[in-house]
């Protein structure tokens, strides 16, 4: 049996539209215009118990809408959906006690109080037995090394510290499924690494099924053996994360800031994205990355250089076009 099952899942919204200015406002007062936007279309997804699945896609692809349907926050327009055998939008407490959701941009902590106070609220809401509560709290706090933050007012915690507390809160009741929507958004590299290590441990130790949406390739690459790529509300890839990155993430994006004015010549095989006398942004095929960097550093006086993974939007576009590096 699958923990998550969807078939032909579709969600459409009616969106209000009006022309600009006062005239448009007056017209819309008497004649409302709506457009239908399909955020998720014919989506089939099966996730087995204990899997760690990455849900990736550019902004507005429909990832969050999918998570909201899976957690029952919104109702689908059509199609089949079952999570742990429940229809999520029936919002049954028996279902809600078996999953947890962490949204990177929406906190569930009580900002004016301490994280420990929020934990007490969750203990009551989820009816967590005293022993289980104490054991889990000790375990997760130790895993994060976050004991010192327990009794601090939440609003005084840094973003990274707060996200650790969000995750501890979400896991106190031993959820079978954990939905994570951009848990590392806005965090610095060390905090991202700590959270990744924590999630890996939770997945392996407790067998928690985790569905992770993230903009950060590194989150998905280091945590999820399986990836589902979403583009324009549809599933465009479902399979091995390694194979996905090998096949489609063929280039690196390099940004160089020159120490003075430079007449930078684009290296062979690279594609220029942005160029000025002080800055150049270009993509380079992965296998040529080392050689190109070596050449640039030898030939130009530099202030700064950064190397990034290719943008998710580019990868989705390549999947659409069936374009691979192979």
């Amino acid at each position: 049996m699958y923990v998550i099952h969807t078939k032909g899942l579709t969600k459409s919204y009616r969106r209000f539209e009006k022309e600009e200015g006062l005239r448009g406002s007056i017209r819309s007062l008497f004649h409302r215009q709506f457009v239908v936007k399909t955020a998720v279309r014919d989506f089939d997804l099966q996730v087995k118990e204990g899997e760690f699945v990455g849900l990736i896609g550019p902004n507005g692809a429909g990832k969050t809408t999918l998570v909201k349907m899976l957690t029952g926050i919104i109702a689908p327009t059509s199609g089949e959906i079952a999570v742990l055998g429940y229809y999520p939008n029936k919002l049954e407490n028996a279902f809600k006690k078996q999953y947890a959701v962490v949204m990177g941009q929406k906190s569930q902590l009580i900002f004016d109080l301490t994280a420990a106070d929020t934990f007490l609220l969750f203990k009551e809401m989820y009816e967590i037995p005293k022993e289980v509560y104490r054991r889990n709290l000790e375990l997760f706090i130790d895993l994060f090394g976050a004991r010192e933050y327990l009794n601090m007012q939440v609003r005084t915690l840094s973003l990274g510290e707060r996200m650790k507390m969000e995750l501890v809160t979400a896991l106190l009741h031993n959820p079978k499924v954990l939905f994570l929507d951009e848990p590392t958004i806005g965090l610095d590299a060390p905090a991202q690494r700590q959270i990744r290590a924590f999630l890996k441990e939770v997945n392996q130790r407790n067998g928690t099924t985790i569905l992770l949406t993230s903009h950060y390739m590194e989150d998905v690459r280091s945590l999820c053996p399986r990836s589902v790529v979403v583009g324009q509300g549809q599933k465009v890839y479902d399979g091995s994360t390694e194979a996905l990155f090998n096949a489609y993430q063929t280039h690196k994006k390099i940004t160089v800031l020159f120490a003075g004015e430079s007449h930078f010549a684009v290296p062979v095989g690279c594609t220029m994205i942005e160029q000025s006398p002080h800055k150049a942004v270009f993509t380079v095929p992965k296998e040529q990355g080392g050689a190109v960097l070596e050449r640039i550093m030898g030939e130009y006086p530099l202030n700064d250089i950064s190397i990034e993974e290719e943008d998710m939007g580019v990868i989705v576009e390549k999947i659409y076009q069936g374009e691979t590096g192979a």
């Binding site: 919104i74 006690k97 949204m103 569930q108 109080l113 989820y126 951009e182």
Partner: protein
């Protein structure tokens, strides 16, 4: 007490404790709230003194009944502020901003949590002062209050507080269905203001239908006052009780209806 009810009571008590803890974090707010609500009450009292100070009878009601009416309205309003007003008032914003997501994904009734998570102990002073006004009204009217009458009056006031709650929730459920419902909330404010000053016995015809059955603010203080002063009729009492039952059933249905249409907000 059923297991579910026991759980809800425990949860409500925890929400109250957390709210008190939150208030105590900000010491000024904790003590300031008592001062603010007490001041509000005094302003209202002055308004009523100015309007009714030189009037002996309105619509057949004598001065004692008028004081009872004012005290009862104040009491219902104070209970509203004490228990649920500050929780319910935030519902439209939570719908618009998608903050209801966090309530829907937790295994506790979202309306129960919203209702009791922002209790306002500052309004307790208002409850006490309202009771004192009612006591004064009783003495001016020369009413002998038996234990049974006190109990019936208290029960009726609590039912009318529930009716006020129903109205607040119904109006704040509308944003599930429309883009903005600010106008409706403003209208509610004006209607409450009007009915705080005018006893329901003064309404006739369309206004009576409006304030007794559609926006039943006219019933809320009038019927308990009639009960206390011994002029309530059996059909009037039954009618008021039916209004409470119908509105409560409708509120719960309408809330669930709205929830099914919740769209959240894009992240």
């Amino acid at each position: 007490m059923s297991k579910n009810m026991y759980r809800n009571v425990r949860f409500i008590l925890l929400l109250i404790k957390l709210k008190l803890s939150r208030m105590m974090v900000f010491r000024f707010s904790f003590f300031g709230a008592f001062f603010a609500d007490g001041t509000l009450f005094l302003v209202q009292l002055l308004t009523f003194s100015t309007i009714y100070g030189h009037v002996d009878s309105i619509g057949g009601w004598d001065r004692g009944q008028m004081i009872l009416f004012v005290g009862t309205f104040s009491l219902i309003n104070a209970l509203n502020m004490l228990i649920y007003f500050f929780g319910v008032i935030g519902i439209p914003d939570k719908i618009k901003r998608g903050d209801l997501d966090q309530y829907l994904t937790k295994p506790i009734n979202p309306l129960l949590r919203l209702t009791f998570e922002s209790v306002n102990p500052g309004s307790f002073l208002l409850v006490v002062m309202s009771v004192l006004i009612i006591g004064y009204g009783v003495s001016v009217s020369g009413i002998e209050v038996s234990a049974g009458l006190a109990l019936a009056y208290t029960g009726l006031v609590l039912l009318m507080t529930l009716l006020w709650y129903d109205m607040e929730v119904i109006l704040r459920t509308i944003p599930f269905l429309v883009i903005s419902a600010n106008g409706i909330e403003q209208l509610e404010g004006h209607l409450i203001d009007l009915n705080f000053k005018v006893p329901g016995v003064l309404y006739n015809g369309v206004l009576k239908v409006l304030f007794y059955f559609i926006m039943p603010y006219g019933v809320m203080s009038t019927v308990p006052t009639q009960l206390l002063s011994g002029v309530v009729t059996a059909p009037g009492l039954v009618q008021a009780l039916c209004v409470v039952v119908v509105f409560t059933v409708f509120t719960l249905w309408f809330w669930r209806f709205g929830l099914r249409r919740y769209k959240s907000a894009s992240s």
